[in-house]
Symmetry: C2
Subunit: 469 residues, 2 copies
C-alpha cells in the first residue's frame, strides 16, 4: 500500500502534508491515472494517522480536481492531462487559454452544484427510457417554443408551485437565460432602453452591451429597484429579480411589486423582465407571489432556469411570454430552432411529470439549509466571529458576509484567491458608483459546497483576514 512518512513536517498540519505528498505523486506520474487510492480507513491505519486526516486530504485533493470519487467504490486519480494546472506543470498538452479554468478549494462565485446532489440514477433511468421509447419524437424538430410535453410540465409546475397561470403555449425553452435575454432583445427591439439593477449580476449588463442596446443602471434600494429613478429614466424595459436580488439578497415586498406593475402599465410598450432564478430556494417562509402572477396588463415576461434546481451544465431555461407578444415572436423569431436538445427536453419533462423534480427540490432545499447552517456556524465559531456579520441568509443560495477589517477588498480577494477560495465583493457588482457600495462586504454563494470542506475553508478564510495567508 501507498505510504508516506510524517516526520519533519514542521508546522504543517498532518492532512496538508498528506495532501501534498499525494498531489506530488500524481503530478510526477508516480500515481497513475485512474489508479484507485486506498480506502480512508485502511490508509489511516497504515499511516498511523486518524481517519479524519485522510478524509481531509482526500477532500482537498478532490476539491482541487486531482482525484475523483465514484460513489460506493472509492477515490481515483484523475488523468493529469485533464487537470487545469498552473503553467509549467504538465500543461504542454492543454490549450493555453483554458489554463484560467482553475479548480478551487471553494468557489463562492460560480453556480456549480455539488456533484453528490445531482439525481444521477433517476436521470439516467429517464434518459434511457426516453431513448428507448421516443425514437420518432426525438429526431423530429420540436415546435419553436420547445417540446410540448416539457412546456406542459413546466406550466403545471408553475401552477402548483408558484400559483401562476401560464399556458404551455406561452412558454419558450432555451439553452440558458443568457440565450433567452438575446432573444428578448430581438423581440422587444434594439431601440428600447433597458433598466438594469445597480448593483446587479454582471453578465446581464454584458449581454445588453454586446448586443449593442442602450441600458441605464437604476439603483437598488432597500426594497428593490428605485421606482422614482426608474420613472425619471427613459427606460422601456426593466430587467429585475424581485424574488431574490443578486447580489444584495433583497426581496422586493408586495407593495413595491404593484408599483413596478404600475410603472409598466403606465405607458405603451413598457415591459418587466422578471428573472426568478432561485425562488425555489427561499429557505424560510413562503415565497412572495411573482410579478407575473399579479400582472393584469400583460407586461411581465417571466424567466426561470433549471440551472439552480437541477444543474447549470444542463443548460435549460425558459421564459413565459404575455400572449400578445407570442404573436410577435411567432412572426419574427419562430424561425430559430429551439436550442435545447430534444433528448434532454423529453427527459426533463418526465422528470417533472413523474414527481421527481418536486422531490429533488425539497431535498436540495434541505441540503442547502444544512450547508448554510454549517457555514454560518463555522464562521461564528471561528476567529472571524469577532469581526463578521452575516446578512440576507434566508432567501436563495447566497448571503452577504461583512468583515470588519482594515484590509482593502482587493487585497483580501487576492489572498483568498491564492488560498484557493473564489470570492467576490459586493462592491464589484456596483456599476455607476462603486464607492457607494458597502465596504468589506462579500457575496457568499454556497451552492457548490459539499459540506465536508467547510471547516477547512473557514479556517483558510480566517487566515486570509488575519494576515497569515
Amino acid at each position: 500500500m501507498l505510504t508516506y512518512t510524517f516526520t519533519d513536517i514542521g508546522s504543517d498540519s498532518l492532512y496538508h502534508h498528506l495532501y501534498q505528498c499525494i498531489r506530488d505523486d500524481i503530478l510526477s506520474g508516480e500515481l497513475a491515472a485512474e489508479c484507485k487510492l486506498p480506502s480512508k480507513r485502511s490508509f489511516a491505519k497504515n499511516l498511523g494517522v486518524s481517519n479524519i486526516t485522510v478524509e481531509n486530504a482526500y477532500a482537498q485533493l478532490q476539491a482541487e480536481g486531482y482525484i475523483y470519487s465514484i460513489p460506493k467504490k472509492g477515490f481515483y486519480v484523475r488523468k493529469v492531462s485533464d487537470l487545469a494546472l498552473p503553467v509549467g506543470k504538465s500543461s504542454a498538452h492543454l490549450p493555453e487559454r483554458e489554463m484560467k479554468h482553475k479548480k478551487y478549494v471553494a468557489d463562492f462565485v460560480s453556480n456549480r452544484i455539488n456533484a453528490g446532489q445531482f439525481p444521477f440514477s433517476v436521470w439516467s433511468k429517464l434518459l434511457r427510457e426516453t431513448l428507448l421509447e421516443r425514437h420518432e419524437e426525438l429526431l423530429e424538430a420540436p415546435p419553436w417554443g420547445g417540446v410540448l410535453q416539457l412546456r406542459r410540465a413546466i406550466s403545471r409546475h408553475l401552477k402548483e408551485f408558484r400559483n401562476m397561470d401560464v399556458s404551455a403555449e406561452q412558454i419558450i425553452i432555451g439553452a440558458g437565460t443568457e440565450y433567452l435575454y438575446g432573444l428578448l432583445i430581438q423581440l422587444l427591439g434594439r431601440d428600447k432602453i433597458y433598466a438594469l439593477e445597480d448593483p446587479g449580476y454582471h453578465k446581464i449588463a454584458k449581454i445588453y452591451e454586446n448586443n449593442g442596446v442602450g441600458c441605464r443602471f437604476i439603483p437598488v434600494g432597500k426594497a428593490g429597484m428605485d421606482i422614482s429613478r426608474l420613472r425619471e429614466s427613459s427606460c422601456h424595459v426593466a430587467h429585475i429579480s424581485p424574488s431574490h436580488h443578486f447580489p444584495t439578497g433583497i426581496v422586493t415586498p408586495i407593495g413595491k411589486r404593484y408599483e413596478l406593475l404600475g410603472w409598466a402599465a403606465g405607458e405603451e410598450g413598457r415591459y418587466i423582465i422578471e428573472d426568478d432564478y432561485d425562488s425555489e430556494f427561499r429557505l424560510v417562509g413562503k415565497p412572495i407571489p411573482t410579478l407575473q402572477s399579479i400582472d393584469c396588463s400583460e407586461r411581465v415576461i417571466y424567466m426561470n432556469t433549471f440551472s439552480k434546481t437541477l444543474a447549470s451544465t444542463i443548460r435549460i431555461s425558459y421564459m413565459a411570454l404575455p400572449r400578445h407578444l407570442l404573436e410577435e415572436f411567432e412572426r419574427r423569431l419562430s424561425f430559430y430552432s429551439c436550442t435545447v436538445s430534444n433528448f434532454e427536453q423529453y427527459t426533463l419533462a418526465r422528470f417533472i411529470e413523474d414527481g421527481y423534480f418536486e422531490k429533488h427540490i425539497n431535498r436540495m432545499r434541505t441540503h442547502y439549509r444544512r450547508i448554510r447552517d454549517e457555514l454560518v456556524q463555522a464562521i461564528r465559531k471561528s476567529p472571524l466571529a469577532s469581526c463578521c456579520e452575516i446578512a440576507k441568509e434566508d432567501a436563495g443560495l447566497h448571503f452577504l458576509l461583512y468583515i470588519n477589517t482594515g484590509l482593502p477588498d482587493d487585497e483580501l480577494l487576492q489572498r483568498a484567491q491564492r488560498a484557493g477560495i473564489r470570492l467576490s465583493a459586493l462592491a464589484q457588482y456596483y456599476y455607476s458608483s462603486p464607492k457607494s457600495a458597502p465596504d468589506h462586504t462579500f457575496v457568499v454563494n454556497y451552492s457548490g459546497l459539499s459540506g465536508a470542506e467547510i471547516p477547512y475553508v473557514v479556517d483558510l478564510l480566517a487566515k486570509c483576514v488575519f494576515g497569515e495567508s
Copy 2:
C-alpha cells in the same frame, strides 16, 4: 383481430382505404393510445390483402404520426393528444399556435433525419457510461469554448477527415449554428456589413436582420459567390458555403476559393464565414479542401454542425476561430456559458473518440446514396420522367428537380402541401430578384426519407403535376 371491409371503396387504392380506416379509428378513440397494431403479415392474411398493402398503409400512418414503431416489436398507436391535428379534430388541449407543426408524408424542406438511422443503442450506452463515470465533470462549468474532450475529438476529426489544422483551443461549441452566427455578429461587430449568398438559406438572412446588422445579397454564379460583385460591395464579412451551396448545390472550385481568400486578405478586418454544413455527405468523389485549410492569413472562420451527421435535434455545432480572434473572443464574450449540455458534450466526445462517428457517417453516406438513387429512379420510372430533370445530385443531401410544367410554382407547391408533401421552389431562396430564378425548379432535401415511402410520394407528386391533386 382488427378488421375492415374492402367493398365499396370505389377508385380508392386498397392501402389508402386501409390507411383511412385505421386513422379514423385512432381519431375516434376506437383504437386506444399505445395499443399495438397487428403484425403486417397476419393483418394482411386476415384482411385478405397483400403484405405490401398493409405495409404502405402503416408507412403512411407512421409518416403522418398516427402510429409509431418500436424496432423488433411492431407498430403502436400514438396518443391523439400528442398529434398535431388540423383544428377541429381533438385539438382542444393543444396550444393553438402549435397547430402549424404539421406532419408530412414527405418533408423535403426540413433537416430531420429518419429515425431508423440514428444510432440509438450506441448513444444510449455512451450516455449511460458518461453518467456513471463523470459525476464531477458533468456538473462543472466547462471552459467557455466547451468541453475540452469534445473539442479535442473534433480537432482530431477535422485533421483526419478534412486535413484541417485546428487546435482544440480554437474550437467553440454552441447550440446550433444559428446561435453561433449570433455570437459571431457580437465578435466581428455590428458595424460590419455582411455579404450573403443570393440565393441562400433563408434563416441566415433572418438572423442578420433580427440582429440589426447590415447585409448585402451577392449573386451566386456557376462557381459560387460572384467575386467581382463582392469586391464592389462595401462588405467586410462574406458568409458562404463553398463545399455545397444551399439551395443551388454548387461546389466552389479551388481556383475560386483562392480568389475568395485573396479578397479577404486584401483589407484589414475582412473575414469569411465558411459554413461547411454537409460536406461529410459528398456522395461522389473526394471533398475539396476547405477554405480554412488553405487560408494563410487567418481570415476564415470555419463552421460545422452535427445536425446533418447525427441529428438536428441534438443541437450541437461548432466553429473554429483564427487564433487572433480567440483573444478578442475571450476578452469580450467568454462570459457566456457554453450553450450545450455537458452531458451531451461528453457523450459526443466519446462517440467520436471511440470511432462510432466515423462508422456512422460511412453508414449514413451509404444510406443517403441509396435513398437518393431510389428517389431518382422512382422519378425516372414515373410519369414525371417525361418532364423532369435532376441536377446537382452528387454533393450533400439535396438536389434540384426541374419540372417542365405550365403550372406556376406556387400552385404546384400548394398542391404538394395539400397532398402532404413539403417542398420548396428554388425561386423562394432568391432575395434581390426572384424573377431571375430558374422557373419550375424545386429543392429536394431527401435526408428525412426512410425509403419505403418513395414510390407513394413520387406517385403523389406526379398527381400534383398532372393535375389530379
